[in-house]
Amino acid sequence: MIDELRRLREEALDAFASARDVGELERLRVRYLGRKEGLVSGVLRRLGSLTPEERPSVGAAANRARKLLAEALQDRLSEVTAARPATERALDLTLPPRRKWRGTIHPVSQVIDDIWRIFQSLGFARARGPEVDTEWYNFVALNTPLDHPAADEQDTLYLAPGLLLRSHTSPVQIRTMERYPPPIRILAPGMVYRRDTYDATHTPAFAQIEGLVVDEGVTFVDFKATLAEFARRFWGPGTQVRFRPSFFPFTEPSAEVDVKRVIVREDGREEETDWIEIMGAGMVDPAVLDNVGYDSERYTGWAFGMGPARVAMLRHGVRDLRLFYENDMRFLGQFT
């Protein structure tokens, strides 16, 4: 009888597996598991024909078989119901795919991330600093005395006398050099604040990226080469880079860096852009190194600051900076 049970079990499992709809499964349930005529129940009913010694083990085996088959039937039943459309009607492959929401990373974050990846490969690490800082870190330590007209260039938001929202990411230069000895190779992205009214190219809060390199033997030649390398990797190998003299209190010599890109038009023609200013930069002023206790006769360095939102505007053809900060889902959703 044990053998009969085993045979029944195998037969039933095969039948379940090949059943294709609910009706067939119901017929199989009655055939094997039905209380009156079911084949497994039939075995149980015949227990009386066995010796008392045989009865418990066969009975248990029959119960096990019934339970197992009941579970298998239930499983197959749910499979069949779930798969019903596939079996009952042809698939309409012209239906749009079953989609999920797609989130996007902010276009300015994407630019920062792309810039970071390039500098990461050039040996840089990222550094952070507070957004509320003191006049010392924001101006004085950066060789910008408050009684010099250079301090006017950035109209600053104050919390209290001497305490301000940083107007650039350059304070991170000072804070990092105070904490770590040379060599320094850092990139410092972060939010900065100016007393600007909203217009197509200004917002009071915006992102900036600072870069700083300090070591022995760092020269104007390395400075030019590294930033040119960055520009070519970011904007493409055909990119030309130009360094123009400028003035920042914390670098000397100071430079504005312009790029001229090759863009491919929709009809495939290549076209050169005008020179576009992308960053302010320069050799770290020795006074800045002195202010953090570095030996400025031994160590030299260079630094830059750039606005990723401006870069994002150029990259995506956005004419109004404010779009980046309105956070309209229809705008953000484009930057997949």
Binding site: D147, R242, F247, F324
Partner: protein, 812 residues
Amino acid sequence: MKVSYRWLRDVAPGIGLTVDEAMARLALRGAPVEAVEDLAAGLRDIVVGQVLDARPHPNADRLTLCRVLGPDGEVPVVCGAPDVRSGSFYPFAPVGARLPGGFRIGKRKIRGHFSQGMLCSERELELGDDQAGIMLLEGDYEAGAAFATAAELDDHRLDVEVTPNRGDLLSHVGIARELHPVGQGGIVLPAFPAGAGLEGSFARGGSESASAGVRIRIEDPELCSRYLGAVIRGVTVGPSPRWLANRLRAAGARPINNVVDATNYVMLELGQPLHAFDLDRLAGATIVVGRARPGESLVTLDGEARTITPEMLMIRDADRPVAIAGVMGGRDSEVSSESTDILLECAHFEPKQVRATRRALGMSTDASYRFERWVDPATMETAMLRAAELVLAVAGGELDGEVIDACPAPWEAPVVSLRPSRVRHLLGVEFSSAELVALLAPLGYREARTGSDVVDFVIPGHRGYDTLREVDLIEEVARTYGYDTFPSALSAFRPGTVPDDPVFQLEDRLRGRLAGDGISEAQTPALGPPRHGDVPLLNPMSADESHLRRDRLPGLLTHLERNLARGVRDVRLFELGTAFAPGDNVAAVPRESARVAVVLHGRRAPLQWSGADGRMDVHDIAGVVELIAGEAFPGGRVLPAGAAAGGWGGPVLDGAPLLVPERCYQLVDAMGAVVGWGGEIRAGAMDLPPWAGTVVGAEAVLPSSPAPGVAVTARELPDQPASQRDVAFLLPAGTGAGDVLEAARAGGGRLLEEAEIFDLYEGGDLPPGARSVAIRLRFRARGRTLTDKEVDRSCRRVLKKVKGATGVEPRS
């Protein structure tokens, strides 16, 4: 600095640059041109017309009938001016010409006579305010020639961006010196029309000097190292001659009167601000340069009553202040049409003093702008004599006596040493001493001494403020050599000592996770209205951005509101940013924390054909909080807020929790601290359209030093089949399904591999408020197949535990 290209060429005749070349050269010298304006653009159609004869119009008193010789021969012109002179030349707009304002001249018939063109006034050509009559051109011209060229008005105005260290570029001579290949040597000061030259002599003195009955005394040599005064008697104040007015206009200045225009001309030419006093208005014919006395005030030229304080340096007469030194003159002593005797001032003021004063007064003038950026002390005498000569040429009068020269602190040119080795150290290129001298000499840096490894340079007056260190000279070397001439070669670098900041790394991971979960990154300012923050700004731009935000969520919600207001119904935004709490230390430096915030509204998935687009609710935000926990707080848990003890610590707005506490979760880190909140936003905290549904949001405080990721130890996969049991429970109202699940998990022992709710049902034949919760239990043992008996036993334990913990029994 607005530069007239003609003026530039006049002071540097050998410059040989077109406008475009000059602009390109300036850009590469560090003074880019922001804008260029073709001043003759509106005058292209205007020609020189010669009036052959003129007679009164027979049908009108005030009109004149003229025959005008222009480019197309003789034409009849009816002119509105009564005094047209035969044989004279006038600017003429022929038929078809366009005036600067855009008006097009047509053929017209005026009172029975044809007019084929127009003789123009200064006002019609936008060359001045004189509308009294048509503009007579003095001298001999060719009829039909282009008017702009003939009148020397074909010019370009360059708007040059001058950096704060280059006060020396705030003049035409300064710009020319920078552009000229031979530098200073190529500069000439052109003779004035009707100028007679002036060989002035100086009455030299220390703190005090006098001449022509006028006495000058400097009380504060630290703030005013030198003061020159020239007395000119018998001037006739009136409009400037046309050449002078045109020149000022071309450089963006407004002509005022001949005396004031003469001082402005010299300022724009040489960079030295000057001032003219009406000598009769100076009490005691005396100038005293000294600090203001307490309680004094002054009405300045612009009519403003200025409150002056004793720190400010004033120009005084015998009784009272008459000018704010280096900033602006007083109205009472201003040169007017009645003035006959004047005193010209040419002084050197200390930059920081001028800057402090004009900032305290909240004003900036052409003079203060230059003084605070340093004015060349070596050019003062030239400027004084040139101004005096120009006044004599355009306003008449005579120089009385010697130029008064009070000079308590003569300027001495600084000497700066430059080491070729240091040049190489910074710039990476080798320059010999001779090469350095050759690069710097044209800019006025004179070689004083050359040693074995050092060259001493004498700094010229015009760079005497910002070129005082070796590195300043090195910049001049680099600039003159040409930044683009330097090679560009990557060299090896040593790794830095600074580790990559872990908060940035955490933010990167969160950004990827949340965007991957269908939420878009927003960026909002950290500034908000007072209800969004506790840390006020001292000088906010607007009431809407007057405070630093205490949480990010309220700001993000305003962006959700804006999306809904624009009809965008499905909004899922997250943000990474800083929040600020009031500082508790003496310096009151706010405490900053990095935050992540999320808001969700609308469908769970895009509108589609197969359902699955239900509206998001608290359970969705709970999932997002769990996702944040997974990245930022290993071992952290998301719990219903009610389960945690203590008061509300989450985001607040208008003094109340921003989230509904009964529909809110807390994120608890592995140490048990509450670090985040997520739930339904209180309806009263938002301004939403009536159709809006539930808004859920979350905010978490990111760890300031996130733990480095720990490598997971992989578990082996099971080699035995699992046994599964489904159990349904009937939950009375008020019993948490999660509590039942929790109890089930706790009761299953080590054989229970997993327990999950797979069905939740209410209504139908269930008692009101009751729910049926179906839990699937999966049992498995390592290394062997479980027997039914074992599974049954475990199941019973689960049921017992559930009943013990929650009182709930399985459905029969």
